[in-house]
């Protein structure tokens, strides 16, 4: 019992600490590719610290939904993060069907954000919420299909079981079904984290925003919670990809050397995946809003093919 609590605590700390670093790394890399120097690697930590100490402006029209949402976003992200193997092949939490719970915890956070966007009555919030719902309604099925592909391989929807199965067959990710599922999940990752070509996380143009439009009214500690929650969500989606498909360096169990090796490998794999994300973001313009569904349809098709091919090969 004590041990389980310690494992959960360790993973919690790692989630909180690593998530802003990944955001900082991606921003830095993007800046370098744009021939800019960019903010320091640790700028997201400074931003969070700054926001946490600031006062808040809460719209007069906002209801309890507005104040509850930051906690929902932050807590669902942490809870989902604890269910994904991070530095070992085990996860500290395994609730209600594993990976399915992860998908729906993220869905809950998104649902609350969309409600909060509508709640303030600002026209930008409404635009953002309607766009976010359109996109997530299409991204979610694609994500489910890709996840079922790996779950079938492991005969379980528990993430720990999936990762252990993957550890057992190191080069399994080269199988056609796994590669298709990886591609589908990568597209979902881009859509879910609001990155180019789906959304532009760095824009100041309210009319073009999706995710940012919903949270425009937030400030101070609430904004910090949402930003931090968003960074954790990005991290856990990336962990889902790298640990299910490239399980190198992960050991079953929680031995100290195993955890350290796992952490080193995790950081390396995160860096590699970040590079892929940044390359996509840098070489593409944002899509026309009405063409985003086409991209997600591609993700869905890839997921469906992946699932079908698990039965063929």
């Amino acid at each position: 019992m004590m041990e389980a609590a310690l494992q959960a605590l360790l993973q919690l700390m790692l989630l909180l600490a690593v998530a802003p670093l990944v955001s900082g790394f991606i921003k830095k890399l993007k800046a370098r590719l744009q021939t800019r120097r960019g903010p320091g690697l640790f700028q997201p930590y400074r931003d969070l610290y700054k926001l946490l100490r600031k006062g808040m402006v809460i719209p007069g029209t906002a209801s309890w939904l507005f104040t509850a949402t930051p906690y929902f976003v932050f807590l669902t992200a942490i809870l989902a993060g604890l269910m994904i193997p991070m530095v070992s092949a085990e996860a500290p939490l395994a609730l209600f069907g594993g990976v399915l719970a992860v998908v729906y915890l993220l869905g809950l956070g998104r649902f609350m954000t969309a409600l909060a966007g509508l709640d303030t009555g600002s026209s930008f919030g409404g635009l953002g919420s309607s766009r976010e719902m359109t996109i997530s309604a299409l991204a979610e099925p694609a994500m489910m299909l890709a996840i079922f592909t790996v779950a079938i391989g492991a005969n379980s929807t528990s993430l720990a079981e999936i990762v252990k199965a993957a550890v057992g067959q190191q080069w399994h990710f080269l199988a056609p079904s796994q590669m298709l599922a990886f591609a589908a999940l990568f597209l979902v990752l881009i859509a879910e984290t609001g990155r180019i070509p789906v959304d532009n996380p760095a824009t100041h143009l309210e009319l073009t925003m999706i995710h940012e439009a919903m949270i425009l009214e937030y400030s101070g500690p609430y904004l910090a919670l949402i930003e931090w929650g968003g960074a954790i969500k990005q991290l856990l989606l990336m962990m889902l990809l790298i640990n299910c498909f490239w399980p190198f360096g992960l050991e079953a169990g929680w031995s100290a050397p195993g955890v350290v090796t796992g952490l080193v490998y995790l950081l390396l794999k995160l860096a590699a995946l970040s590079c892929a994300i940044v390359l996509v973001e840098t070489t593409n313009a944002k899509m026309r809003l009405f063409r985003v569904p086409e991209l997600l349809a591609v993700a869905f098709t890839l997921g469906a093919l992946a699932l079908a091919s698990t039965f063929l090969f």
């Binding site: 744009q34 760095a202 026309r288």
Partner: protein, 525 residues
């Protein structure tokens, strides 16, 4: 244009009268307000003329009347025809042309607000230049003192056209925007994402610039002209100086004219390059903006090297330019120009290599050539929609008559082609600067200072990087001005934005807006 004027005089015998003209390029004639609509119609349809601008002047104290001026031009004719209609102060009313010429909609309403002359028959005679909560004052009348302090404004809010229908929403944006831009209110009616219509409200930065001109000595008014629109400092300054030079018959030395040409084109290059980058940013292709930003930086650094000001301020003066260039400055210009040309080639290749950028820009913000013509659109936006106007070619000034250049015109009218016009123009500009520099003549860089005679009227026209900039002045005793009318191209072009965004989705508005990149300050004055 003289023949056209003669034809009008014959058709309206006794009702039109030729006035004294100081320059062959400005023909003044007076007419009765009652004939205004008929004369305009005849000019537009029979003679293929274009109404350039409309403005008013308060001459009640001197000549007992207000004057309205209507400036016309014809393709292939460097002369302007300026019709003057007297309006009696007892009957402050003139017939509106806005029904047939939507392009004068705002300009006629400016006259209503600033002079208290009613545009009879105007389809939308509400306030435009002074907001609804202003008291009933007319600041450009001579009896309105410059430093008059008005009580705090109270009164009606502006009423927008209502957004009705199920699922139709109103999205108000501004007047305060994110980012470093000026204020303006955009009121969208949207059905989901598609825009049904857009209503604009400008003049949040109205500063009474035209009034201020009447209270400054001319040598200081040049600086005021430079600050009308910050990114067109040199164009506005030059347009103003050209008007004064024409009024005072000042012969600008050829060397100064060539130097002005070079600086005007440098202003065009740095703005066009920045716009190309900004259009790329608005569709999320930020890498192109990084390249455009560094390219713009090298041009404005060159500006500083040549004039001491990154944005070319304090350089133009009545009679020429303030300082001559040394050999070293000319060499810097030549070397930097080579680097800019190379860098620009790379920027264009980068933007064109991105299919996803092209996909966002093509067919976005389409402005039909017929609409562009009807609204009297000028400049980059006009040339992308088939409006073949360029004051550099049509009314040559500075040294443009000695230069060979192409005016790019497209009829596709979308964001992609507004960008293409900019790309073509930068290339032409680089060629023009190179040719001008190779033939930079020796001689003085400014005419000797002289007193400006009073009571003279003249136009100054410059094709700024946005489009046609017009200054009209009437001089006063003591090197001062009686009146200075400023027309920035943005005044004509804002309504085009309204047309261009229709049927587009609201997420594409920023890039459509950026492709016109109009000046708020130049509009509001």
């Amino acid at each position: 244009m003289m023949a056209v004027c003669q034809n009008l005089l014959d058709n309206f015998p006794g009702r039109m009268r030729l006035l004294e003209s100081r320059s062959a390029n400005e023909i003044y004639a007076s007419l009765d307000t009652a004939d205004l609509q008929e004369v305009t119609r005849s000019l537009l349809t029979q003679h293929g003329a274009r109404l350039v601008t409309v403005f008013a002047e308060d001459r009640v104290n001197v000549e007992g009347a207000f004057y309205n001026y209507y400036v016309f031009e014809r393709r292939g004719d460097p002369a302007y025809l300026i019709l003057r209609a007297a309006i009696a102060p007892e009957q402050p009313r003139f017939p509106s042309l806005a029904v047939e010429l939507p392009g004068v909609n705002w300009q006629e309403r400016e006259i209503q607000d600033w002079f208290g002359l009613e545009a009879a028959g105007h389809p939308n005679p509400r306030r435009v230049a002074l907001h609804d909560n202003w008291p009933d004052v007319h600041p450009l009348r001579k009896d309105f003192a410059l430093h008059q302090v008005l009580p705090p404004f109270e009164g009606e809010q502006h009423e927008y056209r209502p957004t009705l229908g199920e699922g139709v929403f109103q999205v108000p944006v501004g007047p305060v925007h994110a980012g470093i831009i000026e204020p303006g209110h955009f009121n969208f009616a949207v059905a989901g994402e598609p825009i049904l219509y857009l209503q604009l409200r400008m003049f949040y930065t109205h500063k009474g610039t035209e009034k201020l001109f009447e209270h400054l000595p001319i040598h200081r008014a040049v600086f005021l002209a430079e600050s009308i629109s910050g990114d067109s400092s040199f164009s506005h300054g030059t347009a103003f100086c050209q008007a004064i030079e024409r009024a005072a018959d000042i012969e600008v030395p050829f060397r100064a004219r060539v130097m002005r040409t070079i600086l005007l084109e440098l202003e065009r290059i740095y703005n066009h390059v920045a716009d190309i980058g900004a259009i790329a940013t608005d569709v999320g292709f930020v890498v192109a903006n990084a390249h455009a930003g560094s390219l713009r930086e090298s041009v404005v650094t060159l500006n500083e090297e040549l004039t001491g000001s990154r944005l070319l301020r304090g350089c133009v003066c009545v009679g020429g330019v303030r300082r001559d260039w040394t050999r070293r400055q000319r060499e810097t210009l030549e070397t930097t120009l080579g680097l800019v040309e190379h860098g620009f080639g790379e920027l264009v290749a980068l933007v064109k290599s991105s299919d996803s950028t092209r996909d966002r820009l093509q067919r976005t913000g389409y402005l039909h050539p017929d609409k562009a013509k009807a609204l009297g659109i000028v400049g980059v936006g006009g040339r992308a929609s088939g409006v073949d106007l360029d004051a550099r070619r049509d009314h040559p000034y500075a040294a443009y008559d000695c230069l060979d250049f192409r005016v790019p015109v497209y009829t596709d009218g979308d964001v992609l082609h507004r960008m293409q016009v900019r790309i073509d123009e930068v290339r032409e500009s680089i060629g023009m600067i190179r040719a001008a520099l190779a033939h930079l003549p020796d001689g003085p860089h400014r005419a000797p200072a002289q007193d400006i005679p009073a009571g003279r009227c003249a136009l100054g026209v410059v094709e700024g990087w946005r489009g046609e900039i017009i200054h009209w002045v009437r001089t006063a005793p003591g090197n001062r001005l009686e009146r200075c009318k400023i027309k920035d191209p943005s005044v004509n072009n804002w309504p085009a934005l309204v047309e261009a965004v229709e049927d587009n989705i609201i997420a594409d508005f920023p890039v459509i807006n950026k492709s016109f990149n109009l000046s708020y300050s130049g509009t509001d004055r």
